[in-house]
């Protein structure tokens, strides 16, 4: 599969479909890091493991590159979905982007509890079946119990937060300037942990219609907070209520932004368990 990716990357460069290919490079002494390949010869050093999300990097590269610079990106399913969302939100010009889609392995899908471990435009590898996150024991346990029980469980987990902002920084579609999490009205500065309601839930809600379930936030968390369980149930709610999956259809806009009049009955739009993380005096 790797050889096929390289072949495509060389063709993309040789035929000038793009000026550079963003992927991973295995350099001297086997060091692997992101790299922009600009000549077909260089592509020999391209690798596709480990999973290393490149969507946000692609966005910043395109922002600072010269006008008309076209970038190809080696993408997994989640990376492709993230790029689609970034295009939809006018962060990337579609014309300047080419993707080389690769499928994830079954092991990777398992590790990411990913229900769609392949891109829509699959160029290399065979798509493997996804994993239903809600069938995973650890996820079920995190979402189980009544309101107060969940509240206690999650408060205990989230009080580990060291406020590194890694979940936000690594998120491929967290691009707002200014960021709500930097607003002192919501998030008190200078103390840890970050507040459950005003940091973690603002983040979760803010991403409810853009989260592409890539898992970058959880992977970047130094204190192992299972952020995906929080995010996936937000995502699931949009899927159930609107049949909407962020990152899949480039033409369909977020139902939260565009389908307000079709909003379902009150209470349904928010996952019940998220609702339960409110403070007692608000219930």
């Amino acid at each position: 599969m790797l050889e096929k990716v390289k072949e495509i990357a060389r063709t993309v460069l040789a035929e000038k479909q793009a000026d550079g290919v963003l992927g991973l490079m295995k350099g001297q002494w086997d060091i692997i890091q992101p790299h922009i390949f600009e000549s077909p010869v260089e592509v020999d050093a391209l690798v596709i493991e480990p999973k290393w999300l490149l969507a946000k990097m692609a966005m910043t590269v395109l922002r600072s590159s010269r006008e008309g610079y076209r970038l190809a990106v080696v993408v997994r399913g989640c990376d492709e979905r993230a790029l689609t969302e970034l295009v939809k939100r006018n962060q990337i010009e579609k014309e300047r982007l080419v993707t080389i889609g690769i499928a994830c392995t079954a092991e990777q899908a398992q590790a990411c509890i990913c229900d769609r471990p392949y891109p829509q435009k699959l160029d290399c590898g065979d798509a493997v079946a996804g994993v239903d996150p809600f069938s995973i024991e650890s996820v079920k346990e995190l979402l189980a119990g009544d309101g107060p029980a969940r509240m206690e469980k999650w408060a205990n987990i989230l009080k580990r937060c060291i406020k590194c902002y890694g979940c936000r920084n690594s998120c491929p579609i967290c691009v707002c300037v200014p960021c709500k999490l930097e607003d002192q009205v919501w998030v008190e500065t200078g103390v840890i942990p970050a507040e459950v309601l005003s940091y973690h839930l603002i983040r979760a809600f803010h991403l409810s219609d853009t989260c592409v379930a890539c898992g970058a936030c959880q992977e970047a968390c130094p204190v192992n907070i299972p952020l995906m369980a929080l995010q996936l149930s937000m995502r699931e709610m949009l899927r159930e209520t609107y049949g909407y999956d962020a990152g899949l259809d480039p033409e369909r806009n977020s139902p939260i932004l565009y389908d307000l009049c079709k909003e379902p009955a009150a209470g349904q739009a928010l996952p019940d368990w998220v609702n339960s993380l409110r403070k007692d005096d608000e219930s």
Binding site: I36, P50, T60, G190, P193, A220, C221, P222, V223, N224
Partner: protein, 683 residues
């Protein structure tokens, strides 16, 4: 121009996380976590994510500066080196080489530290070289050296995740070593018991199974009470003690004077709690003891370290995976600066300057006569400025903020005949310098750092230095050669080869072997893969040694005039003297100015509200800062981070020293708090 991505190592704490710097048009514009790094594995703390932000700050020093009157003037490198040589040589000629002192730097690379101490020792025939390890883990170097033979973390960071019981004493790892905290949480998620001993209710304590909120400075009573209970219950590891230890009888006899009842009274903890925690630790299959400044920064710091080691050895929790003793080192390369002999009593590899055979070995290798007399420590050099020490060369240290009793430090600095400060910014210390040499930061140099788990790691140069700034490596070579030494080094890798020849434990360290994941010393030869944990078959010193921990309560205790306990430390968004973090936009947004924490009940009594200006006064001086009212501190205690130049916590701290390691008692002194009158604003 497309961006480059350069892998390197974080410049902040001793965890040594992997960074990927994004470089655009010769500027570092972003930091990403390194997914492949053996320690951080794709995660970073807030400081790591912001590591690039100070690199191109407008305040960076760009030319050498000389002080004329009250102001600095630019001079050329040639003139700067000539001036430094003239002043250092004339001082040495007039007062002798022992009148010269050098403060090396835990922020600089191993190679730079090696060259710095080599230059001071060779050029002036003095051992007056030390660095800020004196202010953090000197008791570890001495104390663990005595008990085990090696003053370094026994195990690897990743071992923590596999421990069954983790005892954390005096470490706020959640703020100071966040990536290590993650490993501790991994253990907790697998069912490990996490016990925290700290007078403050830190984030670590909040997330622990048990928090023992001991009275300040009562670590030895607690540990002795635990050990006494372990022996009384027969939970100690007799086989381990018999086969591998010495000094048990002395310890056992001593512990007769520490029944749990006495320990409980002394540290303000219920007897049952002490017994319970002792049993949790002693009964665990694998137990780890993590400690930090709460143990070391006391006038009995070395004895505190002895007590921690005694506990681990009593239970046989050393010399195997998932167990051990974990001193969490502060600076990115404080382990390395110690390893490289930037200490007044040892050459590289902790080889004693007063052992004749060792001195001869280094004299032969370096080709100069060396001094057999141990040199002065940081605190002693500053203390004798203008007397024994006439000229001081400070490389990337900031004693004007970091040392105890800062007012006295500042006064001392003015008494020097000549002060050279080499740094990346005009620090509070540099302002006192006669000559300032502009150096380069982590993103602009190549070399190695050694993290807290003894891992040599490679730094990779990402960008060019600003203006005429030069690497510390190059500056030392320039100066050494001008002082008549032969420092022909062109690349740090050559220096590492020289170090490998002189220190058996680092014999297998070469730059090309560090590229992928670094190497943990001891690594004696080129085939050796490095060492995950120490004291495997036998201790570095042969048998492990129980040392009776000599308890002395804090030197100063609260009284009528100074009714509060004051302790100092760090907070998560800033690092040490703030030279770098306070010039990083995201970090100063998180915490802009100085503050001190006090308990709500104390605040009510004193009529102080959140954010009020308060004056904290000790016998040394006073500072004005903002009150933060929180139950993190105990009643009758106040905590002040030492990052802030506008309210230097170290103006207050007590310079009383641990007699063995010479560390000051940063963690306990007496203070009083008063509300400052409101500033008047005219409309």
């Amino acid at each position: 121009m497309n961006p480059d991505f350069i892998k390197t190592i974080c410049p902040y704490c001793g965890v040594g996380c992997g960074l990927v710097l994004k470089v655009e048009d010769g500027k570092v514009v972003g930091t990403y976590p390194d997914k492949e790094h053996p320690v951080s594995r794709g995660t970073l703390c807030i400081k790591g994510w912001s590591a690039h932000q100070f690199v191109h700050h407008a305040d960076r020093l760009k030319t050498p500066l000389v002080k004329r009157g009250d102001t600095f003037e630019k001079i050329s490198w040639d003139d700067a080196i000539a001036l430094a040589v003239e002043k250092l040589q004339s001082t040495a000629a007039r007062y002798g080489g022992d009148a010269i002192g050098g403060l090396s730097s835990a922020k600089c690379t191993n190679e730079e530290n090696y060259l710095f101490q080599k230059m001071i020792r060779m050029a002036f025939k003095t051992n007056n070289v030390d660095h800020c390890a004196r202010l953090c883990h000197a008791p570890t170097a001495v104390g663990m050296g005595q008990t085990t033979g090696s003053g370094a973390m026994t195990n690897s960071i990743s071992d923590l995740a596999g421990a069954e019981c983790i005892l954390i004493i005096g470490s706020n790892a959640a703020e100071s070593h966040p990536i290590i905290m993650g490993e501790i949480y991994k253990a907790a998620d697998r069912g490990a018991a996490v016990v925290v001993v700290d007078p403050r209710k830190t984030a670590v304590a909040e997330n622990a199974q048990v928090h023992l909120r001991i009275n300040p400075g009562t670590d030895i009573p607690l540990l002795c009470g635990m050990m006494r209970h372990i022996i009384d219950e027969g939970l100690h590891n007799e086989k381990f003690i018999h086969d591998r230890m010495e000094g048990f009888d002395e310890l056992k006899t001593f512990l007769r004077s520490w029944p749990v009842e006495r320990a409980a009274k002394e540290c303000g903890i219920a007897e049952e709690e002490i017994r319970r925690v002792a049993e949790m630790y002693a009964r665990a299959k694998d137990a780890a003891a993590v400690y930090c400044m709460g143990i070391t920064q006391h006038a009995c710091g070395t004895a505190n370290v002895h007590a921690v080691c005694d506990l681990a050895m009593l239970c046989g929790q050393i010399g195997k995976t998932f167990s051990g003793v974990y001193p969490l080192r502060g600076q990115n390369n404080v382990q390395g600066a110690c390893d490289m002999g930037a200490l007044p009593n040892v050459y590289p590899g902790y080889q004693s300057v007063s052992v004749p055979a060792v001195k001869e070995k280094f004299e032969k290798a370096w080709g100069r006569e060396l001094s057999a007399k141990p040199g002065l420590t940081v605190t002693e050099m500053i203390g004798s400025a203008g007397k024994d020490i006439r000229a001081l060369y400070i490389m990337a240290e900031n004693p004007a903020l970091s040392d105890p009793d800062v007012n006295h430090v500042l006064e001392s600095l003015t008494k020097l005949d000549f002060l050279i400060v080499q740094d990346i910014f005009l620090t509070e210390t540099a302002k006192f310098a006669d000559l300032v040499l502009p150096a380069v930061c982590f993103a602009e140099k190549t070399g190695t750092y050694t993290n807290t788990e003894r891992r040599f790691q490679l730094l990779r140069k990402a960008v060019e230095p600003p203006g005429e700034a030069k690497g510390d490596f190059e500056i030392i070579c320039l100066l050494a050669n001008a002082l008549g030494l032969d420092f022909p080094y062109k690349h740090p890798g050559e220096v590492m080869e020289e170090i490998a020849k002189l220190v058996p434990e680092y014999g297998g360290i070469r730059f090309d072997r560090l590229e992928k994941a670094g190497l943990q010393w001891p690594c004696p030869d080129l085939k050796h893969e490095g060492t995950r944990f120490l004291h495997d078959v036998q201790f570095t010193r042969g048998k492990g040694l129980f040392i009776v921990p000599a308890y002395t309560p804090p030197f100063e205790t609260p009284d009528g005039e100074y009714p509060y306990w004051l302790s100092t430390g760090r907070m998560f968004a800033h690092y040490h003297t703030g030279t770098m973090t306070r010039r990083s936009a995201f970090l100063s947004r998180e915490m802009e100015g100085a503050y001190a924490e006090m308990h709500p009940e104390d605040a009510i009594k004193a009529g102080i509200r959140e954010g009020d200006r308060i004056r904290i006064t000790s016998r040394r001086g006073s500072i004005v800062t903002a009150a933060r009212i929180t139950k993190r501190v105990a009643r009758g205690s106040v905590f002040a981070p030492f990052h802030f130049t506008e309210a230097r916590a170290n103006i207050l701290t007590n310079p009383v020293l641990d007699p063995i390691s010479k560390i000051p008692e940063f963690k306990a002194c007496a203070a009083r708090i008063e509300k400052e009158p409101h500033e008047k604003h005219e409309r």
